[in-house]
């Protein structure tokens, strides 16, 4: 049998299957076209979903949630002293991305990461891009995440953003946009791996038929990267993962990644710096550390260098870093490139450093520090999404169409007080994917966070990523704090990568 014979399109008419009673409601639906018929890459899935009795799906969904609960992949419910814990909601309908489209996304992300890394390196060295007026200097000088003390530092292989989780969204015409670059401590990759684990158990045959590209090698790739960024001459570097501790909402991910990579999971109190060298406190005394995958923000990393009130960090860590005795992933200072007011200039960075045109477009962005933009934003608050430049996770945000007049006037006040701190974007009607709601399917809005590893030579983009889904009807907010869940993301293998 040739590989070609395995293509879903060869086995049946892709236009036939449809979901009973399912409506796209006029949104761009990734599974179903405007004619309410399955799109090509979803045909097999839709066929299977309409063949299965709904009770069976519900049963598999419950079984999947039980597995997640048993594994303890839970977060604490605030304000509940009964110790109630919930799992991050999981939907069993996967989100599928066609091979050709993934190639496009992957090329776009690779281009973007290389340019962003060159920008960070440049900003902390010669600042060519500022000298040539391609990005306004005052934006850098007023950026809260800019770290003066990173100036003239060169991390190993000149890599700053080793691990990135870029947020992508798809608009109403099907175009993929970059919404934000998370260059500090992006989280969520453990859900990618766990969702896949659960889906393989729930739908083994469907999974097999769809030729899904694997994601399970992420921890090996990550530990490989971390070992490569050790200082020169370290053949057996000691790598640790630094977590804020059990009360952090991403703690599960920290311990999961540490155990999957076989590296020590440490808290700030486990580390000590002596003579600018970092050690762990062990039962047999101090042991030297070479590389830290830190999941603590810059601000809390070292009370001597940044916030003096931080109890999470390690006093003297930045000193050791400056002395070249420890590698940090990501490097301190990367936040300068994901300031939301600097984000509109990423296209410019790609042109400046790579002499290329950006492959993935940005969402059009109004910069409130520009007088014209400010006027436009204040006049159109009810149709725009306004964001504080340094925030993430759905905080510091106004969603115009869903806001009250009072919220808008309060926000307008804040914007006028500090225009540099705000940007605005048109409200994009995010694409939708069928989702199991009760005993039937409904479209729900999704985004996508692929994970990208960069070691200075190669860029690896994990085929898939975290699809977050806004489970509340009509909601555009996918954050877990606001009723968001997740789906497994299936990137289909191209004909050359299929199993024989």
């Amino acid at each position: 049998m040739t590989a070609q014979a395995n293509l879903p399109s060869a086995s049946f008419d892709p236009a036939t299957p449809s979901l009973n009673g399912y409506s796209t409601d006029g949104f761009y639906d990734e599974a179903v076209g405007p004619d309410e018929k399955a799109r090509r890459n979803y045909a097999l899935l839709i066929q299977k979903l309409s063949d299965l009795p709904i009770e069976d799906l519900i049963r598999r969904h419950e079984a999947a949630e039980r597995i997640l609960f048993r594994m303890g992949i839970t977060f604490n419910v605030y304000g509940d002293d009964q110790g109630t814990e919930k799992i991050f909601p999981f939907d069993i309908v996967p989100r599928i991305i066609a091979a050709e489209e993934w190639d496009h996304i992957e090329r776009g992300l690779k281009q973007r990461i290389v340019a962003l890394n060159m920008f960070i390196s440049d900003v902390y060295a010669e600042q060519r891009i500022l000298k040539e007026n391609r990005i306004p200097r005052f934006l850098i000088e007023t950026c809260k995440a800019y770290r003066e003390l990173c100036h003239s530092l060169k991390p190993p292989h000149d890599v700053w953003c080793h691990i990135t989780g870029t947020d992508l969204i798809r608009g109403e015409d099907g175009t993929i946009y970059v919404l934000e670059d998370n260059l500090r401590c992006p989280s969520g990759v453990s859900y990618v791996l766990q969702n896949r684990f659960v889906m393989k158990r729930s739908f083994p045959s469907l999974f097999d038929m769809c030729h899904v590209r694997p994601v399970d090698d992420y921890p090996s790739r990550l530990v490989g990267l971390l070992r490569r960024i050790a200082q020169d001459g370290k053949t057996e570097p000691s790598v640790v993962l630094l977590t804020p501790g059990v009360f952090n909402s991403a703690y599960y991910e920290h311990s999961f990644l540490a155990s999957q990579m076989g590296v020590e999971l440490v808290e700030g109190r486990d580390l000590v710096v002596q003579d600018r060298i970092v050690y762990t406190r062990t039962t047999r005394g101090l042991k030297r550390v070479d590389v830290i995958y830190r999941r603590i923000d810059d601000d809390f990393l070292d009370p001597k260098a940044f916030r003096p009130d931080s109890l999470l960090g390690v006093p003297g860590l930045i000193d050791a870093y400056r002395a070249g005795n420890i590698s940090l992933a990501n490097a301190p200072g990367t936040g300068v490139a994901d300031d939301k007011a600097i984000y509109p200039f990423v296209g410019e960075m790609i042109r400046f450093y790579l002499s290329e045109e950006p492959i993935l477009p940005n969402v059009p962005t109004y910069l409130c520090y520009r007088e014209d933009d400010l006027r436009y934003v204040l006049d159109h608050l009810e149709s725009l999404v306004v964001k504080a430049v340094g925030e993430s996770g759905g905080y510091g945000m106004l969603i115009g169409p869903q806001s009250t007049a009072q919220a808008r006037s309060e926000f307008a006040e804040k914007i006028r007080d500090n225009p540099r701190n705000y940007i605005a974007q048109p409200t994009i009607p995010l694409s939708r994917v069928p989702t199991l709601i009760g005993d039937h399917f409904e479209g729900r809005h999704v985004d996508l966070r692929p994970y990208i590893l960069y070691d200075g030579e190669d860029v690896f983009v994990l085929p898939g990523g975290l699809t977050r889904v806004a489970l509340r009807k009509g909601s555009l907010v996918v954050n877990s704090s606001q009723g968001g869940g997740s789906k497994d993301t299936w990137v289909m293998a191209g004909p050359m990568m299929r199993k024989p």
Binding site: M71, G72, A258, S259, L265
Partner: protein
Amino acid sequence: MLSRVADSIYWMSRYVERAENIARFIEVTYAAMLDLPPGVGGQWLPLVSTTGDGEWFEEHYGEANGQNVIQFLTWDQRYHSSILTSIQAARENARSIRDTIPSEVWEQLNQFYQRVQQAARNPQLIWQSPLDFFQEIKLSSHQFKGVLDASMSHGEGWHFAQVGRFLERADKTTRMVDVQYYRLLPKVYDVGTPIDDLQWSALLHCVSGFEMYRRKYHLITPQKVIRFLLLDRFFPRAVMHCIDSANASLHAITGCSTDSFSNSAEQQLGRLRNDLAFTRVEEIIAIGMHQFIDGLQKRMNDVGNAIYRVFSGEESSSMG
């Protein structure tokens, strides 16, 4: 191994053992109550005394009846050593070392916790068949130990779990003996009567030691029960056995031979082990049971503190 991780493994194991022992106390008291002639009350108070937190109980509950004592020891979220809070603490410790322990261990403990949590929210489930519930706690604790033994390398971390478990168990056995001895002994007029026999048997049942005792000594006499519970080398809940095992594991961690020591924790535990090994039960009774056990508990506490100091780096380990 990270000092913090060693400490968490030690406490994870200790807390599970603590929960199991509480279940044992309650189970055996409850079962014994069913055998007592009507009108014989006051069986629940010794259980409260065993905890050493009688004042707290008095303040929050007042009367030591079955309902109050069971609630206090089983699912009182406010009390630091109820079954619920012990398992919670065990799980919190496990959570902070999830990357170090096998996932089977975490999953078992997580399920154990969810089960207790569920029962705590619907206590009527416990009241329907208390003995089944406490039996289940015991079995879950055994299962925890089984999964740990079968899936975790028997290296440094595992030995820390052993030390924690055996120190906790030794402590609990001494408490049980201490309280029951004084409760049972002064009633001279009971000696040799069925009630007396039943109550000493209950003490043996509490540590699952009834059959093993019978095999060894056949007849139940207070002196022999004490000898069995405190000084037996081979019975797994006897204090001597626990101290011996903890001592062996502590030495396995450093690699130092058990006839010597390389830090103050080993020195103290080794000395305690040898003192016990060369003690006769008659001497214990001559010293006075309470005084003897008080001394024992204090020395075990000191060992626990020394272990923390040595392995957290507070004390240099090269003093041997």
